[in-house]
Symmetry: C2
Amino acid sequence: MDIRTGLPVVGMVGGGQLARMTHQAAIALGQSLRVLAESPDDGAALVVADVRIGTHTDLAALREFAKGCDAVTFDHEHVPNAHIAALAAEGVKIYPGADAILYAQDKQRMRERLSALGAPVPRWRPVASAEDITAFAAELAAADPNAAAGGWPVVAKAVRGGYDGRGVWMLDGPEAAAELAATGTALIVEERVPLRRELAALVARSPFGQVAAYPVVETVQRDGICVQVLAPAPELSEARAVEAQQLAIDLANALGVVGLLAVELFETEAGIVVNELAMRPHNSGHWTIEGARTSQFEQHLRAVLDYPMGETALAAPAVVMANVLGGEPGGMSIDERLHHLFAADPGARVHLYGKQVRPGRKIGHVTVLGDDMTTVRARAARAARWLQEGTE
Amino acid sequence: MDIRTGLPVVGMVGGGQLARMTHQAAIALGQSLRVLAESPDDGAALVVADVRIGTHTDLAALREFAKGCDAVTFDHEHVPNAHIAALAAEGVKIYPGADAILYAQDKQRMRERLSALGAPVPRWRPVASAEDITAFAAELAAADPNAAAGGWPVVAKAVRGGYDGRGVWMLDGPEAAAELAATGTALIVEERVPLRRELAALVARSPFGQVAAYPVVETVQRDGICVQVLAPAPELSEARAVEAQQLAIDLANALGVVGLLAVELFETEAGIVVNELAMRPHNSGHWTIEGARTSQFEQHLRAVLDYPMGETALAAPAVVMANVLGGEPGGMSIDERLHHLFAADPGARVHLYGKQVRPGRKIGHVTVLGDDMTTVRARAARAARWLQEGTE
């Protein structure tokens, strides 16, 4: 409780753009987000009044950070699970809890749990060697008469630490499998799902157990990085949308998630399967800042503070979020690009994360709202290109 | 220019809720607002990373504050005009400039200038004594056969420093006039306009000269304080709306305003007349945070930085902002009230200003969007009551 305002204090571990945007939501609720940042130059540290500098792997720093917080939550999933459990045991309200966030930290545990729950997942296997990978591929080939020779390619994933396409490898044969296995990385392998597209279902759950579900979105990927999010997912049947939302709700309940849960899905001809879980504000939900009645950032705060959840309805028939990646050095400055974008599209909503521009790095996003998805999508792509390259 | 981000630094003099909400807009634009606050407990100082403590009447403090700012602007209109002129002479980009903000600081100069420009204003007069006031009332009586005895009541306004109903007096006769005149306050008097309702026209103007106009709103007043803003103003004819917008655009150009200009208007049977001018984000524009494509706070930043202006279109057919005033001490805490409101109306958008609750003080506002003005208005009123009194 902040005695100056009579309102709660939420601490967020990690000082990236998610904390930065959560602070905007906190301000509206009368709060001031407390942030544990690695550096005073982190995106959130540049804009937040209550910044503590420290590392998320340092239990003493986390303990100190948590003092006086009504709830502690995360900008990322890299806080050691044992630290989260230790803080909870000491009475800190830390969400999502260790028993839940485990499934966003460890892909093997996630696959095991989802399989046990009967949730739709790709065929998968934990593997300890190149031989295990090759054997898995052979099983795929045996099970599917249409499979390529030997069942290749298969998808290998690091059990821990991957994101934004990192920690995921498409293995095209035994040689690639041997090379990866030689790194000693703990791995699982999965069938390559014949996906039509990727979807995401975002829900928020409070300690009380209320769950609010956002409209299901399509996430458009390029080189393993999400480049656009389309809300609502175009031409998604009502039945499939409800199925995806219900799956996310069921998982939030079964895993005991408190806060946001983003369920990344593959849509195939046959149905949906779960790709990944994230338990924090998620790139697939940035569109909610303007595109939904309650942003995912406010929703996450409401959830971890056990406030009733906010309305999730769309604010316009078509909403598109496009990520802005850093371009090559040289050329126009980001400020010049912003001038041009504002002139070109006065309705584009810009979010910049306070990061130094580096090629391929997510430095911001743009959201466009409108009536027609095709038009809105083209505008969002154009706006992101303006900020990214300064050319059209 | 912030070398960490390559984006500009705006300094705002004053640490109240307008600076607090401007910071939210600055974050989206990749910026971090610099704030000159009187106290570290000011609403904006609680949430802003770059806070300087100082007083707006201290030229040395203003000069120090302006160093490194790409533009300096205001949360209120109380910075001495000579200080603004001095800083501008030293090369500070300070907006609105001294020659413009004068008309938001000095009601007599404002009335003189508007009269000279041919803008519609009430009949008015600068007065130096009770006799002057009585003579003005007598003139009103002589001009209007329907006027009450002696032309009373008349409206007296302090030339400087009034806001939110303070600095405005309804004088019902010579005795009240004498009492007020005895205080030595510099005054103008005006006819009491037979108003049907109050409107506000909000525009933003950049140094380049681009002007963007928001939809005209109705401002609902109680005891001299704005309690609700209805966007768009219900049942306002297209012709009257265009007239009000054009008037605001013409005034912004004629006065050389840079940043926001709010023109508070009386609507009468005969037309519109200008009540007051404000040159900063304004209570009548808080609805734009969710209700317009570009919030007034972002628009103000874009204007003072000479970015192209953002789209001003409504985000929903009906938008209502209701101010939340502090209630009597005792009863439910603000946090408990928030729980109840969120349960009662998951779609209400809440903005709390980080202020200690005091009876009658504006501590926040609530915005509701929807399709039907009557429904939306009732929801907004109910939401504000929940936060204000904790009862329905």
